[in-house]
């Protein structure tokens, strides 16, 4: 690019303003065009590199395991089979994990979003007595942390070890999300509105419920999204706080199968005849499980996108 740069000065010494405004792209100099092409090509190849592993997983999940083993699967499935998916959908452990995950995700999201919205609104009110102190109470926890062991012992002390609450409660409120929500309320709920409501006799509860929340739909959507994704993907709290396998969320089941390789002839009734067959199915199931567990999120993505972009902006504006 640097070698073509001298051409810029010679080819475009006197640009005509009117023409520029109407056709900005025609005006591109040689260097600029080369630059744009280079950027586009780099980004396109980056996208290909990024997407290929995902594509391969999908293709492999419906291919004959022996073909994958031999390295015959690259761009399209070889020996199409849905056996892997059939096993996954009939595996009681996986299905239970799926159900548990749905339960924890819904409960966890409800608890988090409700707590954050209420708390953030109160903190956004300039007339809240002790506001600075209360805010500090939250912010400190961003920088100082009691540590894993103390957290475990506290959960134990509370008597919620090996219950759903151990997964739902300990990580419920992220201070960063609280700050995002507070910032949103501060800049989107005008004081005049509250004065007017007060004149009409609305108390704080009523104002929050009838006016603030309906005004904050984008924020609520963002908070719900963030927590749905986080709760669906969480595994660590379940790993340390849950003992009973029947309570494991999907991610923990996945970990045991994908990473710890506990592919014992899964799925009760139709016992697999041989070790080799179990192995073969195991490989197939692994690819399939990645697809099955990721699909709910990727389907929701187009819907979530604009909220996430907004959220990143909200956080960037003020902290």
């Amino acid at each position: 690019m640097t070698t073509t740069r001298p051409a810029v000065e010679t080819t475009a010494p006197t640009p005509e303003p009117q023409a520029l405004r109407r056709h900005p792209r025609q005006r591109e100099s040689g260097a600029d065009r080369a630059f744009t092409v280079a950027v586009t090509v780099t980004l396109l190849s980056a996208i290909l590199v990024i997407l290929y592993p995902l594509y391969f997983v999908v293709v492999a999940s419906v291919s004959e395991p022996s073909a994958i083993l031999n390295g015959d699967v690259w761009l399209w499935p070889s020996g199409f089979t849905l056996e892997g998916y059939a096993r996954i959908l009939s595996d009681p452990g996986i299905l239970r994990g799926f159900a548990n995950s749905v339960l924890y995700t819904v409960a966890g999201t409800a608890v988090s979003v409700a707590t954050i919205l209420c708390g953030a609104y109160a903190l956004s009110r300039r007339d809240l007595f002790g506001r600075t102190f209360l805010m500090l109470l939250f912010v400190i926890t961003m920088f100082i942390d009691g540590g894993l062991i103390a957290r475990y012992l506290v959960v134990q002390e509370l008597g919620i070890l090996d219950t759903m609450w151990a997964v739902v409660l300990p990580g419920a409120v992220g201070v960063w999300n609280l700050i995002i929500a507070r910032t949103f309320f501060e800049s989107n709920v005008p004081d005049e509105l509250r004065d007017a409501a007060q004149l009409d006799g609305a108390n704080d509860f009523r104002f929050f419920w009838r006016i603030v929340l309906p005004l904050s739909k984008p924020l609520i959507a963002l908070m719900v999204m963030i927590h749905l994704v986080a709760n669906w993907n969480a595994f660590f709290d379940a790993l340390i706080f849950l003992d009973d396998e029947n309570k494991y969320p999907l991610q923990l089941v996945l970990r045991n199968i994908l990473i710890q390789s506990e592919v014992t002839a899964a799925g009760g009734a139709g016992a697999v005849d041989s070790y080799a067959a179990a192995q073969r199915l195991g490989e197939l199931m692994k690819y399939g499980m990645i697809v099955v567990s990721t699909i709910p999120l990727l389907v929701a993505l187009p819907f979530m996108q604009k909220h996430f972009t907004k959220g990143a902006l909200l956080g960037a504006v003020k902290s």
């Binding site: 000065e9 630059f35 990024i50 492999a60 926890t141 103390a150 994908l258 567990s293």
Partner: protein, 315 residues
């Protein structure tokens, strides 16, 4: 609800001189109660409990009753043969990760920002950050699958080109590249959003003026875009430094195999193993506290440095 109301009145009661003022917004305190209760129970109680690092914790005597042993656990850790390896591993994987991974989203944002077509821009953006919604478990599971020595596609490619298969997850020297590489693969797109937002906030008049003066795209990017987002870069860098000893511990734990432990054992995974699996609560709490102190020190130092250097800081 009655418990919440009680809690809020105690807050109110403590501030008697201005009780009228506080009482007027009692409903706000009620709204705030769940959040405050949460930090008190799940943040401050563990902080209070972290004192077991200086005690010999036993469940009967609890946080405050267990015998005091001072710095014994800390000295034991610093003098243990594990210490050096844990420090080196933790620092290397995180510092290397920061150095390699930090610039990637910036470069991506600058490039995506250059794209003229809105549709292509949007598509690129979506694809790049779709990946951050995939769970750590799935990402690590994919690493295990794709890099498997028996059936992984990477080793298939290596053998197809005449090489010998590599046992990636079983080799200490491959742990860091795989950890950092997959981290970039998954998260660069999401980190990019903030930079893109900062880029769109740059005054278009600057670009217009530079164009009139004959600056090409490359020059405008270098002299307008990059200085324009420098404050954001600084802040995110300070935050990343503050997390230097904190990053992606769950992922490290998932990627560990018995064979790659020489490079993959970091302070936090060691805390998890000795504390929760080995039930040495006090000893591992001491190690965890040591880790948090390093983090806090790093954060404060770099924030101070940044404030000196270019007047950008967290507070």
């Amino acid at each position: 609800m009655t418990a919440q109301a009680e809690a809020s009145t105690t807050i109110v009661a403590r501030r008697t001189p201005w009780w009228r003022k506080a009482l007027r917004s009692w409903q706000l305190y009620v709204l705030l109660t769940p959040a405050v209760a949460y930090v008190l129970v799940f943040k401050y109680w563990p902080m209070f409990g972290a004192q077991i690092a200086f005690r010999d914790y036993n469940p009967v005597d609890g946080f405050t009753g267990s015998p005091w042993v001072g710095l014994e656990h800390f000295t034991r850790f610093v003098e243990s043969f594990q210490f050096e390896r844990l420090m080196v591993n933790t620092l290397t994987v995180n510092a290397l990760g920061l150095l390699v991974a930090f610039p990637v989203p910036i470069v991506l944002a600058l490039m995506v920002n250059q794209l003229a077509g809105d549709r292509f821009k949007k598509f690129t953006q979506t694809v790049l950050y779709a990946l951050s919604f995939i769970s750590v478990v799935v990402v690590v599971g994919m690493i295990f699958l794709l890099f498997s020595p028996r059936s992984g596609i990477v080793n298939n490619a290596i053998t197809a080109f005449g090489g010998d298969p590599v046992f990636f997850m079983g080799s200490p020297e491959w742990f860091r590249p795989l950890y950092i590489g997959s981290d970039i693969w998954q998260n660069a797109g999401f980190s990019m959003i903030v930079y893109l937002a900062a880029l769109t906030a740059i005054d278009p008049a600057l670009h217009e003026a530079a164009r009139v003066d004959g600056a090409n795209k490359w020059q405008r990017m270098w002299h307008i875009d990059i200085p324009g987002i420098l404050p954001v870069i600084t802040i995110l860098f300070i935050l990343a430094i503050g997390n230097l000893f904190n990053l992606g511990f769950e992922k490290v734990l998932l990627m560990q195999t018995d064979l790659n432990l020489p490079t993959s054992e970091v302070i936090q995974t060691y805390v998890y193993k000795t504390g929760l699996q080995g039930a040495q609560f006090s000893y591992s709490a001491a190690i965890g506290l040591f880790n948090s102190l390093i983090n806090l020190a790093l954060l404060l130092t770099f924030n101070w440095v940044a404030r000196r250097a270019n007047k950008t800081s967290l507070w």
